[in-house]
Amino acid sequence: MAKPLLEVDDVTVDYVTDVADIRAVDRVSLTLHAGEFLGIVGESGCGKSTLLFAIAQLLSPPAELVSGRVHFGGQDLVQLREDELRHVRWRDYSVVMQSAMNALNPMKSIGAQFKDTIRAHTRMAPAAIRARSAEVLHLVGIDAVHLESYPHQLSGGMRQRAMIAMALLFTPQLVIMDEPTSALDVVAQRSLMNQIKALQRQLGFAVIFVTHDMSVVGQYSDRVMVMYAGQIAEIGATASVFERPLHPYTKGLLEAFPSVRGPRRALTGIPGTPPDLARPPAGCRFHPRCPEVRPECSTLEPAVSMIDGTAVRCILYAAPLEDAV
């Protein structure tokens, strides 16, 4: 097994407020190998975006990384100072945000913003800057003439592609994406995802892709991580998780998506709502909504067990105590 590209080790993030500290991410660990596509899926409030920011070292107050390490390229990103981080950022890993309109400067042309990004991280002659900018735009299927365009002149899909192009300026080894397709139509989404996969094959970078959409994750990712209330519920190869979901929450999520193909079946959804992280339920955080709940679930916090390569945090899979020895 090759050395992993990224190792997230027991990361915990708190939102520090006057009233109480809210644990948004609770002891999350994951590994990512070169060229792998990991999808992180969960509903609102599960902590997936916070986790993403923690990995990318983009947390800002009141969010604080309370403990854990993020090993990338032989270094623990958490320990690096801001100037050391700047060497790593964008060259070794880059970030694509949820809404291009939030991340792109509406007052500057695309080309100008690419130039700013390049110059923030390295010295390059203007001709080389322009050449590289045109090259990455071409990679994502946008005509180089749009270097002169302003963000509002491009369609939503094109803007997202421009964001991805910007993320690829230095051909990083890892691209982190926070719901890049949620603002897009289904057709634009399909086109963008195909583009991302093609680029992945071509350039070999790994992807961490955060979304709430199980179908997107199911179709495009190699491995999937399901988060609930700040914790990992399940993580494993996508094909396995989708064919044989282990955690009741994963099962519930998969059953909540209506499909266009195949026979019409009843949708059940998951009753109740995600917990208030300021006062999470005792024991397993999912137990108030779990259809397979057991009496122990309200007192015991389940540990993570490995079943056939999939890690799952559920008492249903915990090894019985007699076999532990």
Binding site: E64, V78, T273, R279
Partner: protein, 311 residues
């Protein structure tokens, strides 16, 4: 087919029983105590309010009684000295609080009310109404305030009412623009469209649906306006345009100036009311700042934890 009942979260039951008013007051008091600016501002205003309500408890002398030695400086019996006519300056200051405060509050309240009605109506109704009301607002904005104040005050009969009228007319326009902007941003909010779709009248929508959601802006308008009104009122009275028979800090300044207090040996007669005006303004301003921070958490100062995260 039965729809499963929604599981409510454990903490919520019971929270709905306290009325929103009580909850808001509780949160507000807590917030004030935690915010230093707010505490300072509220203390200042409370002291001034107390002085306005019960002046006799603080200053024992009759402010109008011209029985003391004239134009002496501060001493044990006369904390701020006496006026040219032998009145106790400290007593005047304390008794003058009432009218000063009343004028400030009344003008700020009425001006805020007018600007709210005009601003929000312009925003919600739009079209010709908006253009007309905005034009009126702009006209009142561009009018040079001080000259207008002077002209109006000299033509109308002198007195507190005139002062209130004149100040209100010249100060409502500032906030009307801001309230209109806020109204415009609210206009497309779904709950207003929803009110329209269920058939509510326009006047109902403005008064019952829009205005209550703008209370924090209205309070901020009121407080911000008060800061300026207290100064403007004093300024007008200083120029002799108020009713000089009434006792306010502004009229104190007027008389002090007339009598040349600064040269005559009782500088405090001139300085004290000026300082008091500044103090009242500061009180309103501090509460205004704090109010912003309380109602908009994004403005609160960020307190960082000491030390980097341990491994």
């Amino acid at each position: 087919m039965a729809v499963p009942a929604i599981v409510t979260e454990p903490g919520l039951i019971g929270a709905a029983d306290t009325s929103r008013g009580t909850q808001a007051v509780q949160r507000f008091t807590q917030a004030i105590l935690r915010n230093r600016k707010a505490t300072a501002g509220v203390i200042i205003l409370l002291i001034l309010g107390f002085a306005a309500a019960f002046p006799g408890l603080i200053a024992h002398d009759d402010p109008q009684a011209a029985i003391y030695d004239q134009s002496i400086g501060p001493s044990a019996q006369h904390l701020l000295g006496t006026t040219q006519l032998g009145q106790d300056v400290f007593a005047q200051l304390v008794w003058g609080t009432r009218l000063t405060l009343i004028v400030t509050v009344v003008v700020s309240a009425i001006a805020t009310l007018i600007s709210m009605v005009i601003g929000v109506t312009a925003a919600y109704v739009g079209g010709m109404t908006d253009r007309t009301l905005s034009l009126i607002t702009d006209v009142f904005l561009i009018l040079p305030t001080l000259p207008l104040l002077i002209v109006l005050a000299s033509y109308l009969p002198p007195g507190t009412i005139t002062l209130i009228v004149v100040l209100t007319l010249t100060s409502w326009a500032f906030q009307a623009r801001q309230l209109r902007s806020q109204g415009l941003s609210l206009r497309a909010r779904d709950f207003l469209v929803a009110a329209r779709v269920r058939g509510e009248r326009t006047s109902y929508i403005i008064l019952v649906e829009m205005v209550p959601t703008m209370t924090s802006l209205l309070v901020a308008s009121f407080l911000g306006l008060a800061v300026f009104v207290v100064g403007f009122a004093a300024g007008l009275q200083f120029l002799g345009l108020g009713n000089s028979t009434e006792l306010t800090w502004g009229t104190m300044l007027y008389y002090a100036e007339q009598s040349g207090a600064l040269e005559a040996g009782n500088a405090w007669w001139a300085l004290a009311p000026g300082a008091a005006v500044a103090l009242m303004g500061a009180g309103f301003a501090l509460v205004n700042y704090a109010f912003d921070e309380i109602s908009n958490p994004a403005l609160r100062p960020v307190r960082r934890r000491r030390g980097k995260a341990a491994a």
